[in-house]
């Protein structure tokens, strides 16, 4: 059988005769070579496995952080939403307070104005007193004249005295009126300052029609308060929007990391492909060892032929669609179309 192999492999000229020891010697490094290649392949498998595991762990960590961030952002958005509501309520409350204050001051203005009007009424009493004073002066003059004539007409003094008495009465009445009015005004001013029970805050007043120094100032305060509330509400609203965008980005990040984690399946696929390559290398090694054994006389030709590696057998071990396509391309054989579905439910 050894002769048969030689006949198949080389021309039959004596100078070209194959020397088995040369063949064995040339093939001897191949098994060790294959062992080293196999070791390298397993190194690659191990290292890519470790790298893939590390990638998945990192991805899961990123994913976990993204979820924590999303939770924080949701809580922040909730807090900001509540703050925005509270601010709006405080703004409404302040506006109502300013409104009540305007009404209250208008009420007080009205009361004070009424008192001022009444105080103007005191002028009437003052006029009366002035009249009394003038009449008294005239009477005094008359009395002086009558005094000159006293001896002649004593009765004139009686008339003057009567008139003076009347004037005194009128003066007393005027003084009493002034006193009463002042007491009344004092009491009412005191009431205005201490008692506002007559103020009804529910009475609707068209405040826009009121234009006093006080309403202008209060309206200015109310406007400033409204503008500040709107500004803060705007900031809160923008912050809530930003928080929601962060949440969306976080969700998108989670989707991406999930997809990336899915892609790490490549490591399992490449591991199995490399294991197939390592298996093929081990077959080459065995074949070479057999051939060396045959050349050295340790392996019978029948055994060598029976254990010869086969490209078809290699193909049968290619269980992945892509492996079969690659095999077909390199072997110059058109690969059969792989019509098996990626997902099949039985």
């Amino acid at each position: 059988m050894a002769g048969l192999l030689r006949r198949q492999a080389v021309p039959s000229t004596p100078e070209a005769a194959v020397r088995a020891d040369v063949v064995a010697g040339s093939l001897r490094p191949v098994p060790e070579f294959c062992q080293i290649v196999d070791a390298h392949l397993h190194d690659v498998i191990e290292q890519t496995g470790e790298a893939a595991e590390a990638i998945v762990r990192q991805m899961l960590k990123i994913d976990s952080l993204a979820e924590v961030m999303a939770g924080d952002v949701v809580r922040l958005a909730g807090t900001l939403d509540r703050t925005e509501d509270q601010l709006a309520q405080a703004g409404d409350s302040n506006a109502q307070l300013v409104d009540r204050l305007v009404r209250y001051f208008l009420f007080r203005d009205e009361q004070v104005r009424a008192l001022v009007d009444e105080m103007r009424g005191l002028k009437k009493h003052v006029t009366q007193i002035e009249e009394v004073s003038k009449a008294t002066n005239i009477l005094a003059l008359n009395a002086m004249i009558e005094a000159v004539r006293a001896g002649d007409a004593g009765e004139g003094f009686a008339v003057v005295a009567d008139e003076v008495r009347k004037l005194a009465t009128r003066s007393a009445q005027a003084a009493s009126g002034i006193g009463t009015t002042i007491a009344d005004l004092t009491a009412r001013l005191d009431a205005v300052l201490t008692d506002d029970s007559n103020f009804d805050e529910n009475v609707k007043t068209d405040l826009s029609a009121e234009d006093t120094a006080m309403t202008r100032r209060l309206s200015g305060i109310a406007q400033a308060q409204r503008e500040m509330s709107e500004m803060v509400a705007g900031i809160l609203h923008d912050t809530v929007d930003a928080a929601l965008q962060v949440r969306q980005s976080s969700d998108a990040l989670t989707v991406e990391t999930t997809g990336a984690v899915g892609h790490v399946q490549f490591q399992d696929i490449s591991r199995q492909m490399l294991e197939h390559v390592a298996d093929a290398v081990s077959q080459v090694k065995r074949q070479v060892e057999d051939t060396i054994g045959y050349a050295e006389g340790g392996v019978p030709a029948d055994a060598l032929i029976a254990r010869t590696i086969s490209v078809d057998e290699l193909r049968s071990r290619h269980v992945m669609s892509r492996q079969r396509v690659t095999h077909g391309e390199k072997a110059g054989v058109a690969a059969a179309a792989d019509d098996t579905p990626v997902i099949e439910l039985f």
Partner: protein
């Protein structure tokens, strides 16, 4: 909560699939090969779905499915094979052993979740 048992000798596959399924709201049990998975079933783990690799040390996926069908309460539990292999012969073997379906790696997360919803009522 729906419990899924993952059986694969690749730590990377177990981690990545567990992450995808946990995030989708499933409870996950894992095993590194068919024998370990059978031991878990014997200890009382009752998954609503099993997803198993085919080529694994100690006990391959198809043998595992055949044995798992004999476990109490596992007769009608969906069992999916998730493998790199696409050959029809192996699929037929898995079907005969009692597998519910065959998925070729790599499978996208949304595809996997879609299949789970198909085979597990109410998942």
């Amino acid at each position: 909560m729906t419990t899924v048992m993952l059986v694969d000798d690749s730590a990377t596959m177990l981690m990545s699939l567990k992450s995808i399924l946990t995030k989708a709201g499933y409870s996950v049990e894992t095993a590194g090969h068919g024998k370990e998975a059978l031991e878990k079933l014997a200890k009382g783990v009752k998954p609503n779905l099993i997803i198993s690799d085919v080529n694994m040390p100690q006990m391959d996926g198809i043998t595992f499915v055949r044995e798992a069908r004999k476990a109490p309460g596992m007769r009608f539990t969906p069992m999916l094979m998730l493998t790199t292999e696409s050959e029809q012969t192996k699929r037929n073997e898995a079907k005969s052993a009692g597998a519910t379906g065959w998925l070729v790696k790599p499978v996208a997360p949304d595809q996997l979740l879609g299949v789970i919803k198909q085979v597990v009522p109410g998942a």
